[in-house]
């Protein structure tokens, strides 16, 4: 994917200015039932203008439902949605005009070429087709040589890129990317990430859903964890690590011990079954390392090596979902 050609482009798009400080997206008590199945349960969420917000969650957590509600594809059972200060129910057209949606499922129109599809998208959003901008988008997504090809003839990766190009060609200030890198190769994934970060630099607000923790970690300013329809945690990566992260120290002893010396268990130290390793785990900032070290020394144990590790975001994610079996030792 080429970098740069979009940066100097003016789309000519005129949106009603959002009031300063007004969030890009505000959900209050958003709930969705499909029959008796609760897909979203009283979700409150605020996404600031210009940030990249990642929604993490296992399959069926409600990520796509949440995005679809904001984009107007699914009706909420209860709750309110505001986009740049506009209420979705009262001003659906203004909300729609502000949103670019990259759906999870690849779709294509077998009747039209790549260029025609992009011209239609600009038109739907009230913009006169601007071939210069379309060419720039096509170049940015490495589709310029496929401009006149029927969309049916594109490869899977190309169709995915066209899907993203369609959502960006009218330059929406809020973009939803529903698992944009699902099923794409590593190279394209890297290119997409670069592109998404470029959009953020231009001031676009981005909400993305992903299964890949690394993707959320790499791109997002904040992360929201959805589980069974509930938004269980929202925070920056560092917030989440601070709240849920653990430090683990592994003491390798010169000689194995039969049992844990007196006092260490009270501090949270455990002995591994081989008797050669002691493990001390503590929440970030709450360690009593000096006392542990003093007790080990005063018990006459000789330490050969100390290894430490801290929690990865993936482990925090599993912990939030209540599925962690403890850190690997």
């Amino acid at each position: 994917m080429a970098e740069g050609p979009l940066e100097n482009l003016q789309s000519g798009r005129k949106l009603d200015a959002a009031p300063p400080g007004c969030p890009a997206l505000r959900l209050v008590g958003v709930t969705k039932y499909y029959g008796s199945l609760c897909a979203l349960d009283r979700v409150d969420l605020t996404v600031r203008q210009g940030e990249i917000f990642a929604l993490l969650g296992p399959n069926g957590a409600g990520k796509t439902t949440l995005i679809s509600i904001v984009a107007g594809l699914v009706r909420p059972t209860a709750g309110s949605v505001e986009v740049f200060g506009y209420d979705l129910k009262k001003h659906p057209m203004k909300v729609r005009a502000s949103i670019g949606l990259v759906p999870q499922e690849i779709n294509y129109d077998p009747f039209f070429s790549v260029n025609e599809v992009l011209r239609f998208m600009m038109g739907y959003f009230g913009l006169k087709p601007d071939q210069k901008r379309i060419d720039a988008i096509l170049q940015a997504f490495d589709l310029l040589d496929k401009k006149h090809s029927n969309t049916r003839a594109l490869s899977g990766g190309m169709k995915r890129r066209l899907l993203i190009a369609k959502a960006l060609v009218y330059d929406p200030p809020l973009v939803f990317l529903d698992e944009p890198t699902a099923g794409v190769d590593v190279e394209l994934r890297e290119e997409l990430w670069k592109y998404i970060l470029g959009l953020k630099k231009k001031g676009t607000t981005i909400v993305l859903t992903t299964h890949y923790i690394h993707e959320a970690e790499r791109l997002s300013d904040r992360i929201g964890v959805l589980d069974k329809g509930r938004l269980v945690r929202v925070g920056t990566r560092d917030d989440l690590l601070e709240e849920f992260g653990e430090q683990v120290l592994l003491f390798e002893l010169e000689r194995p011990v039969e049992q844990l010396p007196h006092g260490l268990a009270e501090l949270g130290v455990t002995r591994q079954t081989d008797g050669r390793h002691l493990v001390y785990r503590y929440r970030n900032g709450n360690g009593r390392l000096n006392e542990v070290m003093d007790l080990i020394r005063s018990s006459g144990l000789s330490v050969r090596e100390i290894r430490d590790r801290h929690t990865q975001l993936e482990e925090v994610f599993l912990k939030i979902l209540g599925r962690a079996g403890g850190l690997p030792q």
Binding site: G72, R75, R96, L101, N107, E116, F120
Partner: protein, 253 residues
């Protein structure tokens, strides 16, 4: 009002059927002309005249109505249903285009396709047998309104259908029988009772006869009654479609 959005959707819909011109225009025109050749030009000479109107003159308006009804319905159903199936309807559902604009664009494209087909059949009939129109404005008005009503029926059918089979059910078991039994090929005057009375409950009968009256000045029912029927159908179907576009769980669960 997002006029650019409306124009874009209208243009896209017109372009869609023009891209498959052979299938959407040429093929139905050829089929209809075959009806004209077989029933009109070959068998027509052996059939009695109706109120002084020759059978070919009588048949042509019926066949033109048939092609208008089928193509208006098929244009909206297939376009909307295929985009539902392919997932590209999402592009339209997220766009800031009002339901009225969406409906109008889809229906106008259907009207254009059916009038193109109808125009070709009328031109061929004029060349072959010199068929003319007695009240051209009435013909145009009926053609337009009938195309609108079946375009509207197609929208609702496509929204509610989940399978191609369901679209075909409506066409095969509702539209085609009602059209064929609505006086395309014959006057209901030749039917025995109770079929004559039963036929009066077929709304398409009023459309075909009102249209035929514009061509030959002869109708089984009062042309004004036909007009009321077709205008009423347009209003009812438009309200139904707008309700579906706004509330149907098939579009927005």
């Amino acid at each position: 009002m997002n006029w650019i959005g409306f124009e874009t959707l209208l243009w896209k819909e017109v372009k869609r059927f023009l891209k498959v011109f052979g299938q959407t225009v040429i093929s139905p025109v050829i089929t209809t002309l075959l009806y004209l050749v077989v029933f009109g030009l070959s068998l027509g000479n052996r059939l009695p005249t109706h109120e002084g109107v020759g059978y070919v003159e009588f048949l042509v308006p019926g066949l033109v109505m048939l092609i208008i009804i089928n193509n208006a319905f098929m244009n909206t159903t297939s376009s909307l249903f295929i985009s539902k199936l392919q997932g590209t309807l999402v592009d339209l559902l997220v766009a800031p285009i009002s339901n009225v604009a969406v409906l109008t664009a889809y229906v106008l494209a259907a009207v254009l396709r059916s009038l193109l087909c109808a125009g070709a059949v009328v031109a061929a009939a004029w060349l072959a047998s010199g068929v003319t129109m007695r009240f051209p404005l009435q013909v145009l008005g009926y053609a337009f309104l009938v195309a609108v009503s079946f375009g509207l029926l197609g929208i609702g059918t496509a929204i509610l259908s989940d399978k191609f089979e369901q679209l075909n059910l409506v066409l095969t078991f509702v539209i085609t029988p009602l059209t064929f039994l609505g006086g395309v090929f014959y006057s209901i005057e030749v039917l025995p009772e109770p079929w004559k009375t039963i036929s009066l409950f077929n709304p398409i009968l009023y459309m075909i006869n009102g249209f035929r009256h514009g061509f030959v000045g002869v109708s089984d029912v009062a042309p004004l009654l036909g007009l009321a029927f077709v205008v009423g159908s347009c209003v009812v179907l438009a309200v139904w479609d707008l309700w579906l576009l706004a509330h149907s769980r098939k579009l927005r669960p």
